[in-house]
Amino acid sequence: MASVSIPSLMRDLTGGLARVEAPGRTVAEVVDALNVAYPGVKARLCEGVRLMAGLAVSVDGRLTRLGLQQPVGPQSEIRFLRASEGG
């Protein structure tokens, strides 16, 4: 199962847990699984079939352009991060 870091502002949904595990072959599947265990997670992270604007996801320390479609391994670590920009 993938290990997901729960952003601090969402821990009201996980009973204060900062890290939880969830199954899935893609980020989207992991989010769906999380949403079952912790209802409301998906609505905070996603806007329809996309990640919320301004949000990025990293899998195993690498930012991914695929977003929710990014494949996830059985031991993967998933983090939701602020999307960045440059000058």
Binding site: M52, G54, R82, E85, G87
Partner: protein
């Protein structure tokens, strides 16, 4: 390609490929576009920071002889289309339209209302003066903390804060709220022996590029649009234009001309759509040029900020906890910079416990844009000033204190990501070992300050083609606008791989029809990512030429090697072509060889910088004079060391401007009082000492030659370093940017 190999092109300092054109005045910039029959476009801007547009009467302007077209928001979006977009809640699109030409409301002084195209610039200005706009002025929100008050006027009555927290139905001026939490900050502070806490403020600042924005649009007879753009991203302009004008992408060609400076401010498109609208209505090419005031009022500066920071450390000098709240003005439309600021601010050090709350707040000022290390400079100022104060309270050397708490390979950042292949410690150690750090400070009222910084850099998408000419030269084309010398630094990487001298690589930037998609030249990505594309394209060239040699020689392709500029077969000394010899054979033996690559670089190396500055403060006037400046930075592998030095020197001076001189000054009605280069003060040559750059080369393994982005880091440390030097010279801790003489006198208790 190991970093320790002997390079023949990488690491040398040839004149940039665009130097001759630029020193002779022949280089064609956006503002130099001249097309037959071209008209001149000017934009009418709102004098009010917050107002309802009651009516716009363009009749008199349209009737002026020599005026070819007048456009307003109605020309951008018909009433029916607007109604449909409103029904579809397409707020992003509508906001982009309103920022191009305001519809029923203006949210900042300088917002475009209408535009005209006329035979001469004088006529265009006269026509602007004839446009009658009736406004109903509304109360303006100018200060970020005022915008947070419960009774503050709402800029966007429908705006709900974007956040991962439980959604609120309450409309707000907070566009984005984010938080990072690590460990247990309360516990961390409890374990700290010394705690320091301050509130820091900074004003909006502008990128200050010397060429104002300009765009020239021409509708061809086939109905397709060409834009000669002044931009950091040809595809960014294309995407904006096709989005707002609802055109097929294939109908819009964007040709980038030379860019007179950008620094993030030309990631966004401000006048391209207006030029296209005017040109369509006028039936002739139109060039829309912003003046300097337009540039201050109507483009995207960097946020003004309020940052509250609290740090705690043990007696031994270990930082135990941090608490921060960052309030960033994002201007009149939702945006996000505070999160970037927090990321940068907390990047250099290990914080076992931290809570960081970030608020992006809308105010009646221009919508902000990127500016060199976006969001980072005011945040680094706050952190470095407070870290310095903490070191002083602990009686520790400021660099030793930073070294003790510096992130290292394997350290965790606030997001929980691990640092790898970073040069933060190397940079701090190089600063400490630099003779400047121990040189005597002769004279009274002098002080030496240091500051450290982190910047994450960027990779992303780049495309490159390399065409082999029969005479052994090659043509290299990328989709990355060159503002800083990247045609040269990218070509040097291809030349190194191809085994050719730089003179035989003709390096140019394509247009949107001729080269694959490339992201904006921003985020210090071009030498890294476009360089990677050039390396891959060069490798493609070598592979294709090796295959051709194998065909000519009738040997298996894998038996052909290419080394030191020679294609050869190990087993047969007769079988030998120089690059030029094989290139000459190409037309007779098959097709032209074109190397192609496009990359999406997903990993890039962070960059650290430590600056040392000596200042003298006039105790009677509060004026700060810089005496000596040293800028140490981890640059990965310097492809063109002189250009890397130039990035460091230029970025440092922008940071010095932010520290001492620059800032948007507003009245209570939200009107900018210093929208000119007399009262918005960029540093001049006379305000500065030589900036001594020290390149620390800690290669980034994700790039074949070890390149890291270098452009953004140097803007980060100057405000903190200068504030710390002022503190040592005067005893006064500075908490506000710019650190004006008046503010310094006040902190010194003199006024």
């Amino acid at each position: 390609m190991a970093n320790n190999k002997n390079f023949s092109v990488i690491g040398t300092r040839p004149p940039r490929v665009d130097a001759a054109e630029k020193v002779t005045g022949r280089a064609k910039y956006g503002s130099d576009a001249q097309l037959p029959g071209m008209a001149y476009g000017k934009v009418l801007r709102s004098p009010h920071a917050h107002a309802r547009i009651v009516s716009i009467d363009t009749h008199a302007a349209e009737s002026l002889p020599g005026v070819y077209a007048v456009v307003t928001s109605a020309d951008l979006l018909s009433a029916e289309e607007r109604a449909a977009r409103v029904a579809a809640e397409d707020w992003g699109f509508l906001a982009a339209c309103d920022q191009t030409l305001a519809h029923d409301k203006v949210l900042f002084a300088g917002q475009p209302i209408a535009a005209v195209a006329a035979r001469t610039p004088t006529l265009a200005e006269q026509a602007l003066a004839l446009i009658a706009v009736e406004y109903e002025v509304l109360p303006a929100v100018v200060d970020v903390l005022d915008a947070l008050r419960d009774d503050a006027p709402l800029l966007h009555p429908g705006l709900r804060t974007r956040s991962l927290a439980a959604p609120s139905e309450q409309p707000s001026n907070v566009a984005v709220y984010a938080q990072q939490l690590k460990g247990d900050p309360a516990q961390g502070f409890a374990e700290a022996d010394v705690i320091v806490e301050r509130e820091f403020r900074s004003l909006m600042v502008h990128q200050g590029y010397i060429e104002p924005h300009v765009s020239t649009a021409e509708w061809n007879a086939d109905g397709k649009l060409t834009i000669y753009a002044d931009t950091q991203g040809l595809f960014a302009v294309r995407d904006q234009v096709v989005w707002l004008l609802r055109l097929p992408m294939s109908d819009v060609r964007v040709t980038p001309l030379e860019v007179g400076g950008a620094f993030g401010g030309k990631n966004n498109s401000y006048v391209d759509v207006v030029a296209a609208l005017l040109a369509r209505k006028a039936g002739r090419p139109v060039k829309v040029t912003m003046g300097r005031a337009d540039t201050f009022l109507g483009t995207g500066p960097s946020s003004g900020t309020v940052i509250r920071l609290k740090l705690g450390a043990t007696r031994e000098g270990r930082i135990m906890a941090a608490q921060a709240a960052l309030y960033y003005e994002v201007g009149a439309y939702p945006g996000s910079l505070a999160g970037s600021g927090a990321h940068v601010m907390f990047g250099p050090y290990v914080f076992p416990n931290a809570q960081v709350d970030c608020y992006d707040v809308v105010v009646n000022k221009p919508p902000t844009a990127s500016y060199r290390a976006p969001g980072g400079t005011p945040a680094t100022f706050a952190m470095e000033a407070l870290v310095d104060e903490l070191a002083e309270k602990l009686g520790l050397d400021p660099l030793d204190f930073r070294l003790l708490n510096s992130v290292r390979n394997g350290s965790e950042d606030l997001d929980g990501d691990l640092y790898h292949h970073i040069g933060g410690v190397e940079v701090l150690e190089a600063a400490k070992a630099h003779p400047h750090y121990t040189a005597p400070l002769a004279g009274p009222n002098r002080g030496r300050g240091v500051a450290h910084s982190y910047w994450g850099n960027w990779g992303a998408r780049s495309s490159c083609t390399i065409t082999v000419n029969p005479d052994g030269t090659v043509g290299l084309v990328t989709g990355s606008v060159d503002i800083t010398g990247t045609r040269t630094s990218v070509a040097m990487q291809a030349a190194e791989v191809l085994g050719l001298p730089l003179e035989r690589v003709k390096s140019s930037v394509g247009d949107t029809d001729s080269i694959g998609y490339s992201d904006v030249s921003a985020g210090s990505r071009t030498t890294l990512a476009t360089g990677t594309a050039a390396i891959r394209a060069a490798q493609d060239v070598i592979a294709k030429m090796s295959a051709r040699a194998a065909t000519i020689w009738e040997v298996p392709a894998e038996s052909v090697t290419y080394q030191n500029g020679v294609f050869a077969v190990a087993a047969d000394a007769e079988k030998r072509f120089t690059f030029a010899e094989l290139a000459a054979q190409l037309p007779n033996t098959g097709n032209t060889v074109i190397g192609v690559a496009n990359v999406d670089v997903g990993e890039w190396g962070a960059s650290f910088a430590a600056h040392i500055v000596d200042v003298e403060v006039d105790p009677e006037t509060g004026k700060t004079t810089l005496l000596r400046y040293t800028a140490v930075q981890d640059v990965g592998k310097a492809i063109h060391p002189s250009q890397v030095e130039g990035q460091i020197q230029g970025g440092t001076v922008q940071g010095i401007g932010w520290a001492l001189y620059e800032g948007y000054v507003y009245n209570e009605a939200g009107q900018m009082l210093n929208a000119n280069l007399l009262d918005y003060k960029l540093p001049t040559a006379l305000d500065l000492p030589m900036i001594d750059p020290v390149l620390v080369e800690v290669p980034f393994p994700g790039h074949p030659f070890g390149v890291r982005g270098v452009g953004e880091s140097p803007i980060l440390p100057p405000p903190g370093a200068i504030a710390n030097a002022i503190a040592r010279a005067t005893g006064a801790r500075m908490t506000q940017l710019p650190m004006t003489p008046a503010h310094i006198l006040k902190q010194m208790g003199k006024i």
